[in-house]
Amino acid sequence: MEHARRRGLARLMLRWPDRRAQLRSFSPDDPRLGDLFEAYELACEAAGYWQRSDAPFGLERAREYQALADATEEDILLKIS
C-alpha cells in the first residue's frame, strides 16, 4: 500500500513537471491525499493490465480505467491547488 502511494505520487510528478515542486511537498502518507495517490496508481496499473489483456472486453476496460485515472488525477490536482 505504501509503495502504491509512493508510486502514485511519483507518477504524478512525472506527468506534471510544472507542479512537481508543489507535489514534492506532500508525503505519500499525507492524510488528505495518500489514499488518492494509491487510487491513482491502482487505476494506472489496471489500465495497463487491461490494455495488455486479450480478454474480449480488455480495451473497453482499459479505457474505463484510463478515464478513472484521469478523474483521480483531477481530484488530486484540485485538492492541492
Binding site: E2, S27, D29, P31, R32, D35, L36, E38, A39, L42, A43, A46, Y49, R61, E64, Y65, L68, A71, T72, D75, L78, K79
Partner: protein, 277 residues
C-alpha cells in the same frame, strides 16, 4: 426502521433521517461526485438501512453498481476500491465545506464499504431529535482540546509535535470526538471560545501533549485530563532512540493508538457512571 447500522455499537440516527440526508446529499451540486459514484453511495446506504450490511462487499458493489458480470474479480478489476477512495474523499470535502451544517453525516471508513451514520458534531441543538437512545452516541462524544506543550524554545520539537497533532486530529475525529486545538494568543476569538470551555467544561477533556528532543532520541507523551475535575484520566508515552527516529507512519500509529485508548476509556467511563462524557 430504526436500528444500529454501524459495527461500532454507537447510537445511530433513525432510518428516515439517514435516507433524508442521503437524498439531500445526492441532490447537492456541491458534492463533487460522478453519477456512478452517486449510485455507489446510494447502494451502500440503502443496504445498510435495510439491515443488509453483510451484502456490502466489493463483489456485490461491482456487480450491482458497476455492472460487472458474475466473473468479477476485485483483485484484477479494482474499480470498487478506487471509486470508494474517491467517494470517501468527496464526502470529506463536502462535510468540511458546503455540507458543514448537515445534521446527519454519512461516511465510509477505510477498510470497509459499510457506511457509518452520525449526527453532526456541530448540530448538537438538533441532535436529540435526530438520534435514538442507545449506548453511546457519536454526537455525544466528548470535546477534546489538544494543548501542545512542546514547541517553545525548541523548533525541532515544535515541528515534531506539529506532526503528532496532525495525526491526532485525524484519528480523534475518526473516533467521533469534537476536537479543538488551543490556539496561539493572537487568535483571540478562538482562544476566547476555548477559555469559555475551560470555565464551563461540561464533557470536555484536555489532551496535553509534549514532544521532547533528548540527547539520544525523542520522547512523545500525552495526558488526558478531565477539565471538570482536573483528574488525569490516562496517560502514555513513547520514546524512540536516534537510530529509529519516528517517521510519519510511526507517529501516525502512535496517534491512532492514543485515539483508541481515549475512546475506549471514555466509553467505559460513560457506561460506568451511566451518563455522558
Amino acid at each position: 426502521m430504526d436500528g444500529i447500522y454501524s459495527a461500532n455499537g454507537q447510537r445511530q440516527p433513525s432510518s428516515d433521517a439517514v435516507l433524508t440526508a442521503l437524498q439531500s446529499l445526492l441532490a447537492s451540486d456541491s458534492l463533487r461526485l460522478s453519477e456512478r459514484n452517486r449510485r455507489f453511495l446510494s447502494f451502500v446506504v440503502k443496504q445498510a438501512v435495510e439491515g443488509q450490511a453483510e451484502r456490502i462487499k466489493a463483489y456485490s458493489i461491482g456487480v450491482d453498481v458497476f455492472g460487472r458480470d458474475d466473473s468479477f474479480d476485485p483483485t484484477l478489476d479494482p474499480i470498487v476500491r478506487i471509486e470508494a477512495t474517491r467517494l470517501r474523499s468527496a464526502l470529506t470535502a463536502y462535510y468540511d465545506g458546503p455540507g458543514r451544517s448537515e445534521n446527519i453525516r454519512i461516511s465510509i471508513p477505510r477498510g470497509s464499504y459499510i457506511p457509518v451514520f452520525s449526527c453532526s458534531l456541530q448540530a448538537q441543538g438538533n441532535a436529540d431529535e435526530l438520534c435514538r437512545t442507545g449506548q453511546s452516541a457519536a454526537c455525544d462524544r466528548a470535546t477534546i482540546v489538544i494543548h501542545d506543550h512542546s514547541g517553545e524554545g525548541d523548533p525541532e520539537a515544535g515541528l515534531k509535535s506539529e506532526l503528532f497533532v496532525d495525526a491526532l486530529l485525524v484519528t480523534l475525529r475518526q473516533e467521533r470526538f469534537r476536537v479543538r486545538i488551543l490556539p496561539a494568543n493572537d487568535r483571540s476569538a478562538a482562544l476566547s471560545a476555548i477559555n469559555a470551555l475551560f470555565a464551563n467544561p461540561g464533557t470536555a477533556c484536555s489532551l496535553d501533549i509534549t514532544v521532547r528532543i533528548l540527547n539520544d532520541g525523542q520522547r512523545y507523551s500525552w495526558r488526558l485530563v478531565d477539565l471538570a475535575t482536573s483528574e488525569v484520566l490516562t496517560s502514555n508515552f513513547q520514546a524512540w532512540t536516534t537510530p529509529t527516529t519516528p517517521c510519519p507512519a510511526i507517529v501516525g500509529d502512535f496517534a491512532a493508538t492514543t485515539a483508541r485508548t481515549i475512546s475506549d476509556l471514555l466509553r467505559a467511563r460513560e457506561h460506568s457512571v451511566g451518563g455522558r462524557l
